[in-house]
């Protein structure tokens, strides 16, 4: 039986929130499409649909088995007389859920959340690989993410793994805490996005021979900003369902979490708009969208454990981090990330995890929480990143992740799908001909 037991009210609310949660992925897909070129818009949305499908199937096959749940069967090693829970040992193909599932309905909710979250994590790298990441490679990379890296880190944080047990085993607060998935969903997805940009390289024409970046603006700012609004509804569901399922948060705290989620996103968006207004003379729409998403991501970890005033600070800082990390990645490190996924999800996700340790308020056992959160960050950067790189590097060697030069020239829509997103509006003929 799972460690977290849900009341009937909590279960009913979780179902409602989980119905909202896919909007987070839909919003991100729309943002990614808008921030890419018009000749790749259909490909971007098609890739998002494929990602969700592949993630659901692979998570069903083995992802949920590796993820497990707190109190469930798992592989455990003993280090220094302490149990270290490494990976779930549930049956594959949702075994155990389909039989007599009425006795453990909360397990079905865990699995439902996992399917949605795996798809969302898989959509994140699409923004960074936009305009040059092959559809087949997208599917293969998503299979690796949903089948291995995502469930592994989810097990460590939400499945009773060693990070979750840091409080019990080593007296570090309440162990690693992450109510809505800033680490398991967003940081894992954002670090995968970083790996993809490294492996596929920048878009053709993005950098001059001396390393100067050229601006390649997104093709539809309206799509991008509409996507931001859609993501908010999804995030409410994601944060609330995650907090109740994995942190045992009472249903009465859900309104506070909703307010916190909105405040964090608002603070981040305003901070980004203000920074870009001061630096460039006018507020930048695409960076403000990145700031908004970064604020939502940062709220995911902390929304259940901090006050509204504190989460506003978290959001303001997330907005600043998103803005400056986009600039550093683009100008200094030659990381071509059209969707800003690395800044919004990896950087702000790591910041959100840290914010729980800095600002988190707990009734008891909060001492050492900052160390537990820091170890979570160290695990993401020190294990998840190189592990993801190794797996995607192997895929690149055998499959080839980047589209051929002809495909990039022609546009991914025509090259891979055979039709453009806007066939009757050839307003960007120069883009097709270039």
């Amino acid at each position: 039986m799972p460690d977290v037991h849900l009341s009937e009210i909590q279960m009913a609310l979780c179902i409602v929130f989980l119905l909202l949660a896919p909007l987070a992925g839909a919003g991100l897909a729309v943002i990614n499409a808008g921030l890419g070129r018009s000749r790749n818009a259909a490909h971007s949305m098609m890739a998002a649909l494929c990602v969700v499908s592949v993630a659901a199937c692979i998570y069903f096959v083995c992802g949920r088995a590796f993820q497990g749940y707190a109190g469930g069967p798992a592989h455990v090693v003993s280090i220094g007389n302490k149990p270290w829970n490494w990976i779930g040992a549930e049956p594959w193909f949702f075994g155990g859920l389909t039989k007599d599932s009425t006795s453990v309905p909360s397990l079905l909710l865990f699995a439902w959340f996992g399917v949605v979250a795996a798809g969302l994590a898989g959509i994140i790298p699409l923004g960074s690989g936009a305009d040059r990441w092959r559809l087949a490679a997208v599917c293969a990379s998503t299979a690796v993410l949903a089948g291995l890296t995502f469930p592994l880190f989810v097990h460590w944080t939400w499945g009773g793994g060693f990070l979750a047990q840091l409080g019990v085993n080593y007296g570090l607060g309440r162990g690693y805490l992450d109510a809505g998935g800033a680490g398991p969903i967003h940081a894992v997805g954002g670090l995968t996005a970083l790996v993809i940009t490294w492996i596929v390289g920048p878009r053709r024409g993005k950098y001059t021979s001396d390393g100067m970046p050229m601006a390649i603006p997104g093709h539809n700012a309206v799509l991008v900003l509409f996507g931001c609004m859609v993501t908010f509804a999804g995030w409410l569901g994601l944060n609330a369902a995650g907090a109740m399922l994995f942190a045992g948060i009472d249903a009465g705290r859900v309104p506070l979490m909703a307010v916190n989620t909105l405040l964090s996103a608002s603070g981040a968006a305003l901070a980004t708009a203000a920074i870009t207004r001061v630096r460039f003379g006018k507020p930048d729409a695409s960076l403000t969208a990145n700031g908004w998403v970064g604020g939502l991501v940062a709220s995911s970890a902390a929304c259940a454990f901090v006050t509204p005033a504190e989460v506003l600070i978290v959001g303001l800082a997330a907005g600043g981090l998103a803005t400056f990390s986009v600039e550093i990645l683009d100008l200094r490190l030659e990381v071509d990330d059209p969707g800003g996924s690395i800044s919004a999800h990896a950087v702000c996700g790591l910041w959100g995890i840290l914010a729980v340790g800095l600002f988190g308020r707990f009734e008891a056992g909060g001492s050492g929480q900052l160390l537990a959160q820091t170890l979570g960050i160290a695990t993401l950067v020190g294990f998840v990143l190189p592990f993801t790189y190794a797996l995607n590097w192997l895929l690149h060697r055998f499959l080839g992740q980047r589209v051929a030069g002809e495909g990039e020239h022609q546009g991914m829509d025509l090259y891979e799908l055979g039709a453009g997103a806007y066939p009757e509006f050839m307003t960007h003929t120069d883009e097709f001909m270039r």
């Binding site: 220094g80 920048p202 390393g211 490190l333 030659e334 160390l371 160290a378 950067v381 020190g382 990143l385």
Partner: protein
């Protein structure tokens, strides 16, 4: 530089894990954990710079 950077990343993680397992006092634990994180950041910088260099070389 890229391989060295990728070796530093898990090395820093193991250092951070070792700090939690082997040390009981909060002060030394925090110092060694931060040291592990520092090693990881060094590795991350090396990996990131190695990717910039490869582009300049036209690889």
């Amino acid at each position: 530089m890229r391989i060295a950077g990728f070796l530093l990343l898990p090395a820093g993680w193991i250092l951070a894990l070792a700090a939690i397992v082997l040390l009981a006092a909060p002060g030394p634990r925090a110092v060694f954990l931060l040291a592990g994180l520092g090693v990881e950041i060094l590795g991350l910088v090396m990996v990131a710079r190695s990717h910039v260099t490869s582009k300049e070389d036209g690889a």
